[in-house]
């Protein structure tokens, strides 16, 4: 019984934790402009993140080493530092985007200018990182994030033309109002949003935080394999809501306030309340995860003591670096830059940096020195190599597409 409860909890947090500001914004933008014609990308992305999150979790459980220790050890100091630079920069961008997302959600609830909410958001994030236990932090944010299920409920209440939606999803075509380059630009962005590297840093470091051993692998695997696809389904329902209400009205999403309109149309104020709580929890949870990931990557590269399971004084540089990251994030937001814009860039840059994270993970997962007999099985390797090709293609195509489309505008 207790085991079943643990399993349910793990799955639920994985669902709630899957969606962050990047998924919210990118899926709504895509739904409002391309309908469901890019759903296949979410599918590809979800399978990819399941594959690699599972792999990094297995490395962490079998060897006790988190992803960035492995990256430095395998790539060496120079390539490792270049990797750290890129990953850290993108992470910082994502922290900024998530902090902005919290503030925007609070503005939706209160109509008070989001800039005034930013200090509140950052202090709350810091206090949780400073004081709250890892497991509690994960579970509360994940469970409240489940409120986003209201997107799926609203979709049903909107009584859409299901055949038409299915047609868009199953026979993808570029809508007449959009260009082919724009379509592929958003395909890369969606892929980046689903596979953001911080999820792997966080997942593997979390495995060390919670002291996973090989025995816990089964549960970890089911959390990922059930939770992430359901999270992906949430992503799709966000896109579908936008496709049903906003696309026909000629609305192209540029702000978070537009993302919630279909939910209000479908389910009224109650649904709106749920969606705001859900967005708040999802962005808050992701802000915690990305801030911690910034600390994890730095500490693991330089070999500092890290972890929320230690007292802050026993992981001093780790905590200091996270404080500095939050300060930088607030500084960026204080310039008045649009958090939604930061989000859109962060997911594309994530796509560019994907190979840097996933290649070393794949290599180490094959090394018996680390893994004992838990090395990758052959089918996993075949799938992983296919994904490596997809990841490389997305990474290489991202910048040219960004230039051609003027970042999707």
């Amino acid at each position: 019984m207790k085991k079943l409860l643990g399993l349910a909890l793990g799955v639920l947090t994985a669902i709630g934790g899957f969606v962050d500001i990047g998924d919210l914004v990118t899926n709504a933008v895509v739904g409002s402009r391309f309908g469901l014609s890019l759903v296949w990308v979410v599918l590809v992305g979800v399978v990819g993140i399941c594959l690699f999150a599972n792999m990094s979790g297995r490395v962490a459980a079998a060897s006790g080493r988190a992803t960035f220790e492995v990256i430095r050890e395998r790539l060496g100091a120079r390539a490792g530092l270049a990797n750290l630079g890129a990953s850290f920069f993108i992470n910082l961008m994502t922290v900024t985007a998530e902090l902005g997302g919290i503030a925007l959600a609070l503005q939706l609830a209160s109509s008070v200018q989001y800039l005034l909410w930013i200090p509140v958001a950052v202090v709350a994030v810091w206090i949780v990182i400073w004081r709250v236990r890892f497991a509690i932090m994960e579970n509360v944010a994940g469970l409240l994030g489940l409120c986003l299920v209201v997107f799926a409920v609203a979709l049903f209440l909107l009584k859409p033309d299901w055949a038409n939606l299915a047609g868009q999803a199953l026979a993808p075509a570029v809508p007449g109002s959009e260009t082919g380059a724009g379509y592929w630009y958003y395909a890369v962005a969606l892929f980046g949003a689903a596979m953001t590297p911080y999820e792997v840093f966080f997942f593997s470091s979390g495995a060390v935080e919670e002291g996973w051993s090989v025995k816990d692998l089964g549960q970890a695997r089911s959390n990922v394999l059930v939770g992430f696809p359901l999270g992906g389904l949430l992503s799709v329902s966000i896109a579908a809501c936008a496709a049903v209400v906003l696309l026909p009205a000629g609305v192209a999403v540029t702000s978070l306030s537009q993302v919630v309109l279909p939910v209000a149309e479908g389910g009224g104020k109650l649904a709106l309340a749920f969606v705001i709580v859900g967005i708040l929890a999802a962005t808050f949870g992701a802000a915690l995860e990305t801030t911690l990931s910034s600390g994890y990557t730095l500490a693991q590269f330089f070999g500092w003591s890290w972890g929320k399971f230690r007292r802050p004084v026993q992981a001093a540089r780790f905590h200091l670096s996270m404080i500095l990251c939050l300060v930088v994030g607030v500084g960026v937001l204080a310039t008045g830059v649009d958090p939604v814009l930061v989000t859109e860039y962060s997911v594309v840059f994530s796509a560019i940096a994907l190979p840097l994270t996933y290649l070393p993970v794949l290599i180490v997962a094959n090394d018996p020195q680390y893994m004992g007999h838990h090395v990758n099985k052959r089918p996993v390797n075949v799938l992983a190599m296919i994904y490596l090709v997809i990841i490389l293609a997305a990474s290489v195509a991202a910048i040219p597409l960004m230039i051609i489309t003027g970042a999707g505008s």
Binding site: R74, L75, L362, D367, Q369, V375, A384, M385
Partner: protein, 116 residues
Amino acid sequence: MILGDVLGTPVHDGDGNRLGRVADARFVIDGAPGQLMAGARLFGLVVSPHSAASFLGYERTGLTQPWPLARILRWRHRGSFLVQWHDIAMIGPDSVALRADFTRYDPALPKRAGGG
């Protein structure tokens, strides 16, 4: 001296022909017993003709997965060899010189040695 100064340095044979670069340094733990581990002495240098970077550990272990990644990385280090300490004439700031009659050995690690 610092190992970082040696890694990547060009290697020349007794006649001054360039053989490659120093890819790694091999140590053997068989010195005087210390409190915890015995002393480690320099056993030799691994020389790679094509790439100085030690590539992700594929060159000296039996690792063959995932294909084709393992094959590509292994190919980058084709022709690498180990020279023992007594075959080294000088380790200079810019070059490593080998003695005239040095012997090339297989750089593969002995089975069940090193690692964890």
